[in-house]
Symmetry: C2
Subunit: 379 residues, 2 copies
């Protein structure tokens, strides 16, 4: 029965762990962290050859908790539980899967919420701006600790896909496959514009206090809420939004005030509230900057093909028809550059009405494309 199959295909109860890096780490912007932690989770077993490791890179608001639950009572599974587990596309019977919270995050890895080892106070706005390149370097250090010389695959959607792409460029000998999903080789002008409005909403919130809100006993929840509401619109497609909410009213008729008239308003406000309660504003700011700055072709005269010249990984690139944040055209830029650079690439364009968020959704064509690609990876 599919219900019990589905139940048995969970990685089960999982436990995050902190990996400490007690050495200075100099970032791309020139600043040096005296030390840092990465919060991780792993699923499955590393084989004797160390050849079956898969790294999962997260997007803007993701973290290390990719699959399973933290307790039997845990209401929610990890953010990619439909993709990672025994018998699932990223099959934990075959692969040793590693999820981490990126440096600068707010879920256990060193970030703005962490205590600075010298001052004894939380970093707050003093935590440096990190880049995709920085993340990949910390992930390579993590691989060293875990005894992983070469990843069988590095996998990510959105900002996570950018990390997979950067991995292939920065450590060509240490990654065999890069799975780049719903990503882009760099943000468009419009992408940057939306990010800056989101940041301005946070930065101008009177409760932001220059990023040292914790010291003031406040939190810029208003700004973070607005940022998330706006972001959420860009993650969804008009098709999906229209199918789900249309112009449905919460009440029988128009209210003629500014409370909730339309169901979509109620949904967005709820999403904004939930996020503002759970996420750190400084981390949100950092993550959007990492997105804006990502542009690997920049160091190569804006020639992406040149940036990919030394890549050795094979690529799986996927996009979703209704994704207007990182549209299929943006994934095709990656695919074309890979082909011009004479690299191995498989491309899947998935029909979906879920917009950018489709990379997190259950979709048969998507799941199958991932499953087949990953099944063909030798370990």
């Amino acid at each position: 029965m599919s219900a019990s199959l589905s139940a048995s295909s969970s990685v089960g109860i999982v436990r995050p762990q902190t990996i400490a890096f007690d050495q200075p780490f100099t970032l791309q912007n020139g600043e040096t962290l005296p030390r840092f932690d990465l919060m991780i989770e792993t699923y499955g077993q590393l084989n004797a050859a160390g050849s079956n490791a898969v790294l999962i890179c997260h997007a803007l608001s993701g973290n290390h908790h990719v699959a399973g639950r933290h307790s039997a009572e845990d209401k929610y599974a990890g953010w990619w539980d439909n993709m990672v587990g025994p018998g699932k596309p990223i099959d934990t019977d075959k692969f040793f899967v590693v999820g981490l919270n990126n440096l600068g995050g707010c879920h256990g890895s060193s970030g703005p919420l962490s205590i600075h080892p010298h001052s004894g106070k939380a970093y707050g706005a003093d935590f440096p701006i990190v880049t995709v390149k920085d993340w990949v370097r910390t992930q390579a250090m993590l691989a060293d600790v875990l005894g992983i010389a070469t990843w069988a695959a590095v996998v990510g959607g959105s900002l996570g896909g950018m990390q997979a792409l950067q991995w292939a460029m920065d450590f060509p000998e240490r990654i065999r496959h890069a799975l780049v999903i719903a990503a882009a080789p760099k943000l468009s002008t419009q992408n940057i514009a939306f990010n800056d409005v989101a940041r301005q909403a946070i930065l101008t919130d009177p409760d932001f206090h220059g990023g040292f809100y914790a010291e003031h006993g406040t939190s810029p929840k208003r700004g973070l809420r607005i940022a998330r509401m706006m972001g959420h619109i860009t993650y969804l497609a008009e098709d999906g939004l229209g199918e789900k909410f249309g112009r449905d009213l919460k009440n029988k008729d128009y209210r003629f005030d500014f409370d909730v008239d339309f169901e979509v308003e109620s949904y967005l406000r709820y999403q904004g509230d939930k996020f503002a309660d759970a996420f750190d504003a400084n981390t949100y700011l950092l993550m959007t900057k990492a997105l804006d700055y990502f542009d690997p072709a920049r160091e190569h005269d804006n020639n992406l093909q040149a940036a990919l010249a030394h890549v050795r990984a094979k690529f799986f690139v996927a996009s979703f028809s209704s994704d207007w944040r990182f549209s299929p055209a943006r994934s095709q830029e990656i695919v074309r550059a890979l082909i011009r650079a004479e690299k191995n690439v498989q491309y899947a364009e998935i029909e979906s009405s879920f917009g950018h968020d489709a990379f997190l959704m259950e979709d048969a064509a998507y799941i199958d494309a991932m499953r087949v690609y990953l099944r063909n990876i030798e370990v």
Copy 2:
């Protein structure tokens, strides 16, 4: 010479005037204004038959100042000066052109900034929510005052186009031509979602004070600025934004902080600041609600064709290829419903990279299409 031709084709120095309506006016939401003013401008001369009058309806942030300048030193011409003037598409040698600030506006017509005649205090948040239908009724009252039995044409872009459409439905005998540009028969779910985020930015600004910010000596500029920055992105197309700004940096390299890195950020923040200094937040809230509520088919079982059954005006409908706020598909909905209702409609889909804002831009194909249509209107 075209330069001097262009200079000579201005309506010149113009003077706004206030038209007082000293009688109670009951709005669609059931509330009654004891009286109201409309601020207007007119260009050209009404002919003896009163058959050459054209009404210009404005969009979200527009007003009565459509063409010309208020003084010889005036730095800026009216918002549609490229369209309205002697020899221009809306030719003031032929037409008597009327621009007005809509009820609820902040440029001289009665609105939240106006003094309530009974309380002696500014309305603020007590000004009622007005609808497109309400506006059309006040515009019909204005026509009575001006001695205009029937408009030769009612013209508008975006929210202005919705007013032209509503005119044709509500006063079929009083409008001969409706020019509906870059509009939609109702907002999409995504449109409403963006409007609600804009409103939430304003409503949750600590300086909003429930809409009575004037009494507190404040103004919710932070929220209004964020609303406008976000709105501005939706008025522009990725094509145009990309052509204009790309990923151009303000400085030589990334800053690694939250000041302006990219030129597009500088542009958007400037637009936001300018707007927040000049526009009233309560009016902004009202205008977005008028957009959300516009849905003439709603009273006809969501059948737009039925809503248009009694229309007698001829239609000119125009859309712009890169407009993703009100895409060509939305204009085509209007066109199809008009055709099904056996009405006269001419449709122009203009190739443009300017997005929704294209309706305000100089574009030869657009200007020509308008010119030809308006030239063929008999007066």
